[in-house]
């Protein structure tokens, strides 16, 4: 702040030493003569607009091209024999989606019911997991002793394949439906526990110092500092958990039956209607994508920076 202003140009060597005073030489700097500024600006704008158009075109073209390659590969494989091609699948899809809400008895219902059935199981299993996992994560993150207690158990249980839990569920709950929900619960709980706990540990010390300096009450610390700071981590955990739950439901339903996408896949395999299996795969993929995208959007809402 107190440094001497930098001189704009070096002083000419010819200046006698006596003429140099303590005040630095400040040389006014006239603006360069203006050329045809307006025309240059317009040309630049045109170049920018052109580049933007090319970029947008490329961004639309690339995914379309990707899908085209995928369909071609699918078609090529289908010509080799057992797998139905895109056209045959499309015809089957028109039938499936033509009457999505029919009900012919407990095990033969339209696609909409199947989707709803699967979503319901995922919703209940995941909801229970959130109800238990998020508070558990907070507690584990806050208290070192509990963290050290929980760590070995979580490390042991987390890598267990979801379906290994199914027999335990069948045994304890004596029914296929609660066993499927149990499987969802136990396999989707871990990302929420772990992410929430990590979030609690990563609350910046600065924020906690603010809490200490202001001497905030425990409830204020939780509601104004801890919870908002942990929320982004928690939502990441929720997103990962839903992903796991959706992966697991198909497998669980294959084994437990009932109205749902997983059982549908298995049923159509028994009927040897492979095109319906392919439709199921697409439906599962699209719903998984939609769940992921929705949660990403929710998480974005809670990003602060």
């Amino acid at each position: 702040m107190m440094t001497a202003p930098i001189t704009a140009t070096p002083e000419p060597a010819a200046t006698p030493a006596a003429e140099r005073s303590a005040t630095p030489a400040v040389v006014p700097h006239p603006a360069a003569p203006t050329r045809n500024a307006a025309a240059e600006q317009a040309a630049a704008n045109q170049r920018i607009a052109m580049r933007r158009r090319t970029e947008i075109a490329a961004r639309i073209a690339a995914p379309l091209l990707g899908i085209l390659v995928f369909l071609t590969a699918w078609y090529a494989i289908s010509t080799m024999g057992s797998i139905p091609g895109p056209a045959k699948t499309w015809e089957a899809a028109k039938v499936v989606f033509g009457d999505p809400t029919y009900k012919n008895g407990p095990n033969d219902q339209g696609i909409a019911w199947k989707v709803l059935g699967s979503l319901e199981r995922v919703g209940i299993g995941f909801g229970l997991a959130a109800l238990v996992g998020i508070p558990l994560g907070f507690v584990i993150g806050r208290f070192l002793f509990l963290r050290n207690m929980a760590e070995p158990v979580i490390s042991l249980l987390r890598p267990v394949s979801p379906l290994a839990w199914l027999p335990i569920g069948l045994l304890v709950f004596k029914g296929a439906a609660p066993a499927a929900i149990w499987t969802i619960f136990i396999s989707s709980i871990w990302p929420m526990v772990i992410n929430t706990a990590v979030g609690v540990q990563r609350v910046p010390q600065d924020y906690l110092n603010v809490a200490r300096v202001l001497n905030l009450s425990e409830w204020k610390v939780f509601s104004k500092i801890l919870f908002p700071a942990v929320l982004p981590y928690m939502l990441t955990g929720v997103r990962l958990s839903i992903g796991v739950a959706w992966l697991v439901i198909v497998a669980a339903e294959m084994l437990t039956g009932g109205v749902g996408l997983g059982f549908w896949v298995w049923d159509e395999w028994n009927n040897l209607k492979v095109e319906n299996i392919i439709i199921a795969i697409f439906v599962i993929g699209i719903i998984g994508l939609a769940l992921e995208y929705t949660l990403l959007m929710i998480a974005k809402r809670w990003q602060y920076d």
């Binding site: 702040m1 600065d206 300096v213 202001l214 104004k224 602060y304």
Partner: protein, 262 residues
């Protein structure tokens, strides 16, 4: 005379993996009500540690600190702290950030309308009425520090503690905020302890500059009184002999007596 903030033989030893580390020793300092004191020293000299002791964020391993004859045993709203990296809560607006502090201190005695008015006044004082509903990431670094100062002052603390509050700002913004801080302190009559590593900042703002020796086991080396009238005008100071002499004294302390191998 009643002692305001005073520190008696304070020392701080940290327990590290490598064993005990003496950060501060034999700190003795008295600060009068309404005084502006700056702490300066090379990095690692424990000036922030000393500030944290006054804030009560850490407790000394030896010696005592008193504020208005009461021993400091922990952090409290009678000491407003402005941190180097502003530490505003990013999910609250500027208004809410300040209101959180106001609420904590005055909620028992005042109505909601009065609390809102206090918050509004604090924003006004730092010239940020327009930014009330903005979130911290939407405003500049200088504005964030101003909100931090407003938050600390809105609690009407006995002492305002500033930990290199302008360290992360560019030189021009820093100068502007220094002027503003001088104006606010003059208007409120606050007692201020400010940690800085900027010689000009230390001299321009302070009634006394406390110079610290190099760590480990740092202590107060010299204390320089700055007997310049207020308000101090930045440009006038550039050619004020007393200012330049004070500046030179601090520079000599830092670069001759306490020269540190980089």
């Amino acid at each position: 005379m009643e002692r305001y903030l005073h520190i008696e033989q304070a020392g701080m030893i940290f327990e590290t993996r490598q064993g005990a580390f003496t950060a501060l020793r034999d700190i003795n300092l008295e600060i009068q009500k309404g005084e502006f004191v700056t702490l300066i020293g090379h990095s690692g000299c424990g000036k922030s540690t000393l500030l944290n002791l006054i804030a009560g964020l850490t407790l000394p391993t030896s010696g005592y600190l008193f504020l208005s004859e009461r021993q400091i045993g922990g952090p409290g709203p009678d000491r407003g702290v402005v941190f180097q990296n502003h530490s505003l809560l990013p999910w609250l607006t500027c208004f809410e950030n300040i209101h959180l502090a106001v609420e904590r201190v005055f909620a028992e005695k005042e109505s909601k309308a009065q609390l809102r008015e206090r918050t509004q006044k604090a924003l006004e004082m730092v010239g940020l009425t327009q930014a009330a509903e903005k979130r911290p990431h939407e405003i500049s670094g200088g504005m964030k520090q101003r909100v931090g100062i407003a938050r600390a002052l809105a609690m009407e603390p006995k002492v305002l503690l500033l930990d290199e509050p302008f360290g992360a700002l560019d030189a021009l913004t820093r100068a502007k905020l220094q002027d503003e801080l001088m104006r606010i302190v003059a208007a409120t009559g606050s007692t201020v302890v400010m940690v800085t590593h900027d010689v000009d900042e230390a001299v321009l703002l302070a009634d006394r500059v406390v110079m610290m020796t190099n760590g480990p086991a740092a202590t107060i080396g010299e204390i320089l009184s700055i007997d310049l009238p207020r308000p101090r005008e930045r440009l006038a100071m550039a050619s004020e002999p007393r200012y330049l002499a004070a500046r030179k004294a601090v520079l000599e302390f830092l670069y001759q007596k306490q020269l540190k191998a980089a």
